[in-house]
Symmetry: C2
Subunit: 82 residues, 2 copies
């Protein structure tokens, strides 16, 4: 069994209204040192596969086909045993 | 300048309808090896602080006061320079 830890983030330059809202809320709470907030997704996918290379190939395909929107998002992942 | 990389995940046992939807979509796409999907948030907060210990203290407070819902979510973060 493998665990894929997947990060999906907005590409640089893509507007992040959720991040802006959190930034303003942090300012309102007096966290004045905060300069920028970007918000993405974190997914944990548990899967069975013949070996780690196969699992990594499958996770890359999941990201391309479903999990990330390649127009506006980047993805990165690591696959660990467990 | 410091960069806080924050992971916010649902506590074990908390229902994750978004994860269930993704799980079903992956099954429909023939990723039959997938056994479980959990979806959380990933935030990057860029902040200035006197040193890393101060930055870490501030990020922990942000998580407690705004970023995570401690009833149903766990948070974890690391603070790096940059």
């Amino acid at each position: 069994m493998y665990l894929a830890q997947i990060h999906i983030t907005l590409k640089p330059g893509v507007l992040d209204p959720q991040g802006t809202a959190v930034y303003k809320a942090l300012q309102a709470l007096d966290f004045t040192g905060v300069e920028d907030v970007r918000i993405g997704k974190y997914m944990e996918v548990r899967l069975s596969a013949a070996d780690r290379a196969v699992a990594e190939m499958q996770v890359a395909e999941m990201c391309r086909r479903l999990l990330a929107n390649p127009v506006i998002e980047n993805y990165a992942f690591q696959v660990v045993e467990g």
